[in-house]
Every structure is written in C-alpha cells, then in structure tokens.
C-alpha cells in the first residue's frame, strides 16, 4: 500500500481568468474598444494639424510621439509599483509579479516606438536621424535598462526568487524616468523642452498641438493598458496550465515507486 494522503494545491488556486474566452472579460473588451477609438481620434486630430513652417507635415508626429513616450513612462511606473507591492510582505501576490513583467514588456515596445518615431521626426527637424542628445541618449538607456530587466526575468529560476530579484531591479530602474524627463533642463538639448511645463498664456504653442498631444497620450495609455491586461491574462493562464500539469507531474513522480 502507498501513502494515500491527498496532495494539496501547491500554489495560489488557479484564478477565474482561466475560464474566460480568448477575448477575456467584458471589461478587457471595453478597454480594447476604447483604446481603438482613442487611436482613431488621435489619427484624425493628427491629420487635422496644420503643417508648420520649419517641419512641414512631420509636425503631425506630435500626435503620436510624445504619447508613446509618456505611455512608456506609465508602463515602467506601473512595473515599479507592482514590484514594490510584491516586496511588501503584506501585499505579496504572484500576480503583482505578472503585472510587473507584462507592463515592462509593453513598455519596452513603446520605448522602441518612441525612438523610432523620434528618429523619423529628427531627420527633417535636425537633419539627422540621431544625435547624442541627452534626451535621446537617456531614452536609449531606458530601453537598454529594461531589456536587462527582461533578461533577468528570462533566466530560469524559482518563480518567487525571480520575482524578488526582478522587483529590486525594477525599483532601481524606474529612476531613469525622472532623469529622462528633466534631462532637457539639466543638459542643453536639441530636443523639445517640457512644453507642457512651459505652457503659459503668452506661450505661443498652438492649442491644437497641445490637444493632439493630450489625445495621443490618452490613446497610447489606453492601448498600453489593453495590451498589458492581456499579457497578464496570458501569464495567469500559463500558471493555471502549469498548475494542471503539476498535478500530472506529481502523479508521475509518485509512480516511480511502482517500478
């Protein structure tokens, strides 16, 4: 006779998402639709923008580029918050780690797009695709940092341990955001100043541009949220799957005794 004691669940109980359909819950669906609408709005507004003297049609990139950049800030900010939540014993849930990872992945994509659009924009404005300007360099640095963060996450190890390690790194990494944001003040840069900060009645920055920037930012943030939510869902599904396969593995392992 062998030990018949039941093997208890070995991690958090598999959560509801496992049950949902491919599109996730109604909420994620709504989020997706909102994101798409906002994107459309951005597009419209962007096209509506007038050409500017010095930049011609390229000025319209203002509808996309800053939004992307800010959305990536949001993404990495969320990663940091989730990481903190993991490190605090009372709020320690593995789903915080999922969120941190997912958010960072999306953030990296957005950072990449920021660099891309920025370069495209730079060509006509500065005559070159790239300059070693503080803002640009720091943005590239931001990309590298979070690539490193993701690399750490990819190294196989115990989930909890990895979560702790990644969390610490994420908290260190987030410092790049304020640095990048204020870079335009600390270093002389070719790049735009913090236009919103400089926004004053007598500042002649066209309201329509501000509007486009705002809407673009909203859209990008929604898209970010949408992608992240789904990435988290996938992570959870993977866990649920692992959970299931684990029970099988345990049975197999116990069966070794039979041989």
């Amino acid at each position: 006779m062998t030990t018949t004691a039941p093997v208890e669940a070995t991690t958090d109980p598999p959560d509801p998402v496992a049950a949902q359909g491919p599109l996730g819950s109604a909420l994620t669906l709504a989020l997706g639709i909102a994101a798409l609408l906002a994107l459309a709005a951005t597009y419209a507004l962007g096209l509506a923008l007038p050409d500017t003297v010095e930049q011609g049609g390229y000025a319209r990139l203002i509808a996309i580029h800053p939004g992307l950049a800010w959305a990536s800030y949001v993404a990495f900010g969320v990663t940091a918050l989730a990481s903190a939540a993991w490190l605090v014993p009372r709020t320690r849930r593995i789903s915080w780690d999922h969120l941190a990872g997912a958010s960072a992945e999306v953030g990296v994509v957005f950072t990449g797009l920021t660099l891309l659009t920025g370069s495209i924009w730079g060509r006509p404005t500065w005559g070159v695709w790239w300059v070693w300007d503080a803002r640009l360099t720091l943005s590239a640095l931001m990309l590298a940092i979070y690539l490193g963060y993701l690399a750490l996450r990819r190294v196989p190890s115990d989930p909890e341990v990895r979560a702790s390690r990644a969390a610490v790194v994420a908290l260190g990494a987030v410092l790049i955001i304020p640095i990048n944001h204020f870079a335009v003040q600390w270093w002389r840069t070719l790049h735009q100043g913090r236009s919103l900060a400089q926004l004053t009645p007598e500042n002649d920055l066209d309201a329509s541009f501000i509007g486009a920037m705002a809407v673009g930012f909203l859209a990008m943030t929604l898209v970010y949220a949408w992608l992240t939510v789904h990435r988290v869902r996938v992570a959870r599904l993977e866990d649920a799957d692992a959970e299931a396969s684990l029970q099988v593995a345990i049975v197999e392992r116990r069966a070794e005794a039979a041989r």
Partner: protein
C-alpha cells in the same frame, strides 16, 4: 548586524589578501581602460584633456564592476551560499560587510588611479578636498549598489554576463555626477553650486542604495 558586517568584511579582505586579485588584476585593468579610451578618443583631436575626468570615472566604474564580480565569485564556491543562509548571519550585516570590503578596495584603487591621471593627462588637482569628498560619496554608492545587484546575479549560471548588464546603468548616475563634480574640482572653477548639487546627488544615491540594500538583502539572500 555590525558584528556580522565586520566578520564578513574581514573574511573578504583576508581572501583578497591571499589572492591579491584587486591589486594584481583590477588595478592594472583600470589603468588599461584609461589608456584604451584615450586611444578610442583619438588624442590628435585634443578631446583628452576635456574628457579626463570622464575617463577616470569610467575606469573606476569598470573596476567597480570587476570588484563586485570578484566579491560574488568568492561566494560562488559550491555550498557556500547555503552555508551562508544557514549560518544565522544577519543579511543586513552580510550586505554591509561585503559592500564595505568592496568600497575599501575601490578607495585604494581610486587613489592610485588618481595619481596616474594627474601624471598621464597633466591635470592639476585644484580642489583636492572636493575630489576626495566626491570619491568617498561615489565609492559608497558604487559599492552599495554593486553588492546589491551582485547578489541578484549571484547563483545564476550566467553571472558573468548578467551582472554588467544590470549594474552599469544603475551606476551611470554616479558616473555622471562624479565626473561633473571632479571636473569642477579639476578646472578649479569654484562655481561651487553645481559641484555641490552633483555631490548631493552622489550622497543621496549612496544613502538610498545603502538603505535599500540593508532592507532588501534579506529576501534576496535568503529566498534564493
């Protein structure tokens, strides 16, 4: 905690005393980096004099990386990680101890390297006091952050490659701040305010990472 810190630091320094890695390898490496970049930057164009401080701190940065890598390699003997966890040593103590040992080695290295720079690039250290303070603050930061990230990469089989990737960007601010501060010191232009703020940045950085390490080292060391 302090007792444990001393114990660990003593152990690391004793190992250094026996193996002389910092002295025989890290120091020459630092000199090397200095010279190499001097080349990469192409002396003809008179970039050097202006970039001296930057180069110095880049060299220190890479040496710090090596020192940290070494300080982790020391712990990578098989079973030592477990033994450390079972030892009952206070993780905060371990952190401070290892960071302290690294810092000490770095300080010596910086001193020697500093002399080298003065000779090599013929820069005259005007604000020596400022330089020293800068070095102290920067070193504390480098050692603290380095040790913290060191233990993150430790135990992973990919230590050699992962650690630089994680650590370098974190140390970048130190690089910049230290460079700026020392430039002011070197050029002797007593526009004290900027130098002061860079210094402040260095100190806060050190403080933050020391505190962070003391708190976070526990989970990192013990869960792993």
């Amino acid at each position: 905690m302090w007792r444990d810190a001393l114990l660990v630091a003593g152990k690391d320094l004793r190992i250094e005393g026996r193996s002389r890695v910092a002295l025989n390898q890290v120091l020459p490496f630092a000199v090397l980096v200095l010279v190499l970049f001097a080349f990469a930057l192409d002396p003809d164009r008179g970039v050097l004099e202006r970039a001296a401080a930057g180069l110095y701190w880049v060299a220190v940065l890479f040496s710090a990386l090596l020192a940290v890598q070494r300080s982790q390699a020391v712990e990578s003997g098989d079973g030592t990680a477990d033994a450390l966890r079972l030892s009952g040593l206070d993780p905060a103590g371990v952190f401070l101890g290892k960071a302290g040992a690294v810092a000490l080695q770095l300080l010596v290295l910086e001193a020697l390297l500093g002399v080298g720079v003065v000779v090599l690039y013929g820069v005259a250290p005007a604000g020596l006091g400022l330089l020293v303070v800068t070095a102290l603050a920067a070193t504390a930061g480098l050692a603290a952050a380095g040790t913290l990230y060191g233990v993150i990469a430790a135990g992973l089989r990919v230590r050699e490659t992962l650690l630089p990737l994680l650590l370098l960007p974190v140390l970048a601010p130190v690089l910049i701040a230290a460079t700026r501060a020392s430039e002011t010191a070197l050029s002797g232009v007593s526009s004290g305010v900027p130098a002061g703020s860079w210094l402040a940045l260095l100190v806060t950085f050190a403080m933050v990472y020391l505190g962070f390490g003391v708190v976070a080292f526990g989970p990192l060391l013990e869960d792993a």
